[in-house]
């Protein structure tokens, strides 16, 4: 058995998604282009092509095999072989200094264009890779670094990435913030498909399965052209392993046990292929956790259960590659009893207390009590790619159903959820990655595409948000010019969204009474008020990469913009804000947010030193912020309800600037010892007024040691890592919008040991990882728990995976 799931996927894989991709263990191949044409009949075909590197340098001496035919590339990278039979064939390309590549070719064929990437073993997050070929600042977590985070949620997986901060929700789950932006300003893509959920809620963790991913990449900064609306602060790209293509069976079984909360996870993946084009993957896992514990007390009612199941079927034949799949994600979690504040005074009292009021009563168990969340996310998708003379044409369709029920404390006679959201999203998009052509001394490659989305939100529950139906369309073109040691990328995109919101007549009256909607702004029927919005916005990108001939230094510059259309809550919220003791009101006349970003990045790749530092300035025109409102006399506005009088907050638009830098360095001080350091800093303020933007992560830095002894035989690859993270107190806060002061800074010690054991065709991965080993009392500025309780304390995870 030689095939296997890809432990390493080069970061360009999605953009250039080849569909002739094949993984050969232990190394993995990523190739880009195969251009094929029409069939013929006799075994007298001639196959020619050329092999080159990502930088278009010809590869001499590469061995090309098609069945029994073998050719070696000349100095210019070209090869020719004759007497090949028509039809599909496996093709293998090897070179001693480059990663091997395998794929399928249908003969007769056009001149083959084969790209080999540099050989590398597992790339860990600390090591910058030049192969990203992306002007954006980007880091990929894969291989050992990803294995080490098995059993953690998406935020946990990305915690070590420079520029990423975690937002802890009221359930204890985390969500990633990139350069200070999250939620609706951070786009998640799963295998190229937008993850569509109720991202607007601060305590809505992403409904994704990190177990199913071969790599997770963080693209920092605005990236609207390539990824579409909402890619304001960045993009998280989640990629599944490539399907098995060789006849046979492979898979893996994972188990993870965590000490904090008595967490247990079991999962598995099985890949089957008939060798004739058909591939099937079955994948499932389940995690159960009791209530987590802070250093001094149990965080009552933070038990959780997470289940995932997926089926993927692929079919690849000749120049056609099809794939379809179903994914189900279920998440049920209690919300910490500690998160309760019926007024601003109660919130302040909770913050002033050393520990939650009833902490002594709470004990660790697996009961899910009210308040709790019950979330499911189902995805069905199909995609197909065909290789034509023009290039690779890919069409993708998917439907996602996100169901979120939130159960608040309620009298025993009330069984239903108080907040019940159903978000259905249907997307159809197509891209054409045109074939590479020469322009002067360079080559041009690019993608054009169009996408259409229908999204419907149906909400039932306490007054909060309306139903809506939104149609979105977008079209883009992005081109890359490769010039030896430089690359220039440029692109443009236009998006349009037409949204109709449907308010109950009661909600409509509540809005007009509060003057948050003008009486003539919507049309009313006997059933509902229909309020319409439509926006059109453009995005642009211009960037470049340059590296020295020896590939020791690389400089990248990205100038990009991104658009974000207002969400339903920002337009029509009317009710108590779910995570703060304030009364929130939407604003129907909001305009799209437009972000203009500039981000230079410099990277070094010396034999004993890897480093990457990125700086950025993101100007957000019309940033939609949630802010307190004031009466004409300057006093805070108040909304009176039957549950008390709350400060009145509303969405409004300001011009904001986010700026900062982040980076990482790894120095190999001895053959087996590497010292690492990483850090990030974000500042954000409103243009004109200078008022600070709240909820921006505090400055942070991490230093670490990694020991990787060589020559351990069957235990080769064993690594021991220790990291110390320091987070400063956030002193750049806004008294107007921070309901309680920022907590003190903290330090956290983590450590891990990973031991791979190879026996024949099987591999066992063992790992022991500890988080917050000193059980430090941590309150994070970007945690929804911060006014109420400490973050979860020490957690030691043991994991064992069998790969067969």
């Amino acid at each position: 058995m030689t095939g296997g799931p890809c432990p390493l996927i080069a970061t360009e894989m999605h953009l250039d998604r080849p569909t002739h991709v094949y993984c050969s263990r232990p190394r993995v191949v990523v190739a880009v282009l195969l251009l094929v044409s029409t069939p013929a009949l006799a075994c007298d075909e001639r196959v020619s092509g050329h092999v080159h590197t990502l930088e278009d340098e010809p590869v001499a001496g590469a061995r090309v095999e098609i069945d029994e035919h073998v050719a070696t590339t000349a100095d210019d990278g070209r090869f020719v072989m004759t007497g090949v039979c028509p039809g599909p064939h496996e093709i293998h390309v090897h070179h001693v200094e480059l990663m091997p590549w395998s794929g399928t070719v249908v003969v007769p064929t056009d001149h083959l264009d084969i790209e080999l990437v540099e050989d590398a073993e597992v790339v860990v997050v600390e090591a910058p890779a030049f192969s990203a070929r992306d002007p954006h600042s980007r880091t990929t977590v894969e291989g050992v670094a990803l294995e080490r985070q098995r059993g953690r949620d998406l935020g946990g997986v990305l915690e070590g990435v420079p520029g990423v901060t975690l937002l802890t929700t009221s359930t204890g789950a985390t969500r990633p913030m990139v350069r200070g932006m999250y939620g609706r300003r951070l786009l998640l893509l799963r295998d190229g498909m937008r993850h569509e959920s109720q991202r607007w809620g601060d305590d809505h963790a992403p409904e994704v399965d990190p177990f199913a991913m071969a790599s997770v990449s963080v693209v920092r900064g605005a990236a609207g052209v390539r990824y579409g609306p909402d890619a304001v602060g960045g993009v998280v790209l989640m990629e599944s392993p490539a399907l098995r293509r060789e006849r046979g069976v492979e898979g893996r079984v994972d188990t993870v046990a965590g000490s904090n909360g008595g967490r247990g996870t079991v999962g598995g993946q099985l890949d089957l292929a008939d060798g004739n084009g058909l591939s099937v993957r079955l994948q499932a896992n389940h995690q159960s956790s009791g209530s987590q514990s802070a250093p001094d007390y149990v965080l009552g009612n933070t038990a959780s259960r997470v289940s995932n199941a997926a089926v993927t079927v692929g079919w690849q034949k000749g120049d056609v590659d099809l794939e379809a799949g179903l994914r189900h994600h279920a998440y049920a979690a209690g919300i910490c009893y500690c998160v309760t504040a019926s007024s601003a005074e109660e919130l302040q009292a909770a913050f002033d207390a050393d520990r939650p009021l009833n902490a002594d009563l709470w004990h660790a168990d697996r009961t899910l009590d009210r308040p709790r969340q019950d979330v499911t996310h189902d995805t069905v998708y199909a995609r197909g790619a065909v290789f034509t003379g023009l290039g690779t044409l890919e069409v993708r369709a998917n439907t996602q159903i996100n169901r979120r029920k939130e159960y608040d404390r309620a009298r025993e006679t009330i069984e239903d959820a108080q907040f019940d959201f159903l978000l259905a999203t249907h997307t159809l998009d197509t891209t054409l990655q045109h074939r590479r052509f020469h322009l002067g001394s360079g080559t041009v490659q690019g993608t054009l595409g169009a996408t259409g989305t229908l999204q419907e939100n149906v909400y039932r529950g306490l007054p909060l948000v309306p139903n809506h139906r939104a149609w979105s369309f977008g079209a883009f073109l992005a081109e890359r010019l490769s010039l030896g040691h430089a690359l220039i990328e440029a692109g443009a995109r236009v998006d349009h969204q037409a949204r109709a919101s449907f308010l109950t007549l009661e909600a409509w009256r509540r809005h007009t009474a509060r003057e948050s909607i003008a009486p003539d702004a919507c049309t009313t029927t006997t059933e509902a008020a229909r309020c319409e919005n439509a926006w059109t916005a453009g995005s642009f990108t211009l960037g470049g990469i340059w590296h020295d001939p020896g590939e020791r230094v690389e400089a990248r510059l990205d100038l990009s913009s991104a658009t974000r259309f207002p969400n339903g809550d920002e337009l029509y919220l009317n009710g108590a804000a779910p995570t703060q003791p304030v009364y929130g009101l939407g604003r129907p006349d909001l305009k799209p947010e437009i972000t203009w970003g500039a981000s230079p990045t410099v990277a070094l790749a010396l034999p004993a030193l890897h480093a990457e530092v990125g700086a950025y300035v993101n100007r957000v025109d019309g940033a939609i912020v949630f802010a307190p409102q004031y009466a004409d006399d300057g006093s805070p506005a108040v909304q009176v309800t039957s549950q008390g009088a709350f400060p009145s907050w509303a969405f409004e638009q300001v011009d904001a600037v986010y700026a900062g830098l982040d980076g990482q360095v790894a120095v190999r001080v001895a053959r087996a010892l590497t010292v690492t350091a990483a850090g990030s800093r974000v500042r954000a303020h409103q243009r004109g007024t200078g008022e600070l933007v709240p909820f921006v992560p505090a400055d942070r830095g991490t230093v670490g040691l990694e020991v990787a002894p060589a020559d351990l035989g069957s235990f080769d690859g064993t690594t021991l890592a220790v990291g110390l993270t320091g987070v400063a107190r956030q002193r750049h806060t806004s008294a107007a919008t921070d309901l309680v002061p920022a907590p003190d800074g903290y330090a956290r010690l983590d450590a891990s040991i990973d031991v791979p054991v190879t026996t024949g065709d099987q591999q066992i991965l063992l790992g022991l990882a500890g988080t917050n080993l000193l059980n430090a009392h941590i309150r994070s500025y970007t945690s929804l728990l911060r006014a109420y309780a400490d973050e979860p304390g020490r957690d030691v995870r043991f994991r064992a995976s069998l790969i067969f």
């Binding site: 909770a350 709470w362 009590d369 509540r510 549950q643």
Partner: protein
């Protein structure tokens, strides 16, 4: 042409339910608090939940004491739903707190199965003349992890400005004038 194809395919998935929004769980909502003081009913009411409640001012004849009863209603429901019975049935997880600045005072007149005060009935007292706000808060105090959080002394905690467990199901204020 391509856009037309998108619309045609995506329209197949559209549904009508989105155009007929409904507000579920109306039984959860308390829109109205009624105080019955010596047979006279005073109402705090915001049935539309539009932030403009109608509040009856309370006028007391002078120093003295009066029986006071509290009722909680949902006037969004048709017919109007009286939630007081549910509160009484779950009195071990509910308590009404009265914010009674001087010259007002309050004495609980009922207890739950554990002997702890409930506050659906009691005595309102006045020691002299003055104009103040009477705060009435219905607190839901569900057990946490199976352990009761409604304990003795919560009324004193409330009076002292301390932190209460649970959440406010209703929290309204009546203007009171003691002649």
């Amino acid at each position: 042409m391509r856009k037309t194809l998108f619309v045609a395919l995506l329209a197949l998935a559209a549904c009508k339910g989105v155009e007929t929004p409904t507000e579920a769980n109306p039984e959860e909502v308390i829109t109205t608090v009624e105080l019955t003081i010596d047979g006279t009913v005073y109402t705090w009411s915001d049935p539309e939940q539009d932030g403009s409640p109608e509040v009856d001012p309370i006028e007391l004849p002078g120093a003295g004491s009066w029986s006071i009863g509290v009722a909680f209603l949902n006037e969004q429901s048709n017919p109007v739903e009286d939630i007081t019975g549910e509160v009484e049935a779950e009195s071990d997880e509910h308590q009404v707190f009265f914010g009674t600045p001087s010259p007002l005072g309050y004495t609980y007149g009922d207890t739950d199965a554990n002997g702890l005060p409930v506050g659906l009935t009691g005595t309102l007292e006045a020691s002299g003349a003055g104009s103040v706000d009477l705060r009435v808060m219905l607190r839901h105090l569900p057990a946490e992890g199976g352990v009761p959080v409604k304990v003795d002394g919560l009324a004193d905690t409330f009076a002292d400005g301390g932190t209460l467990p649970g959440e406010a199901d209703a929290d309204v204020t009546f203007p009171v004038t003691v002649l």
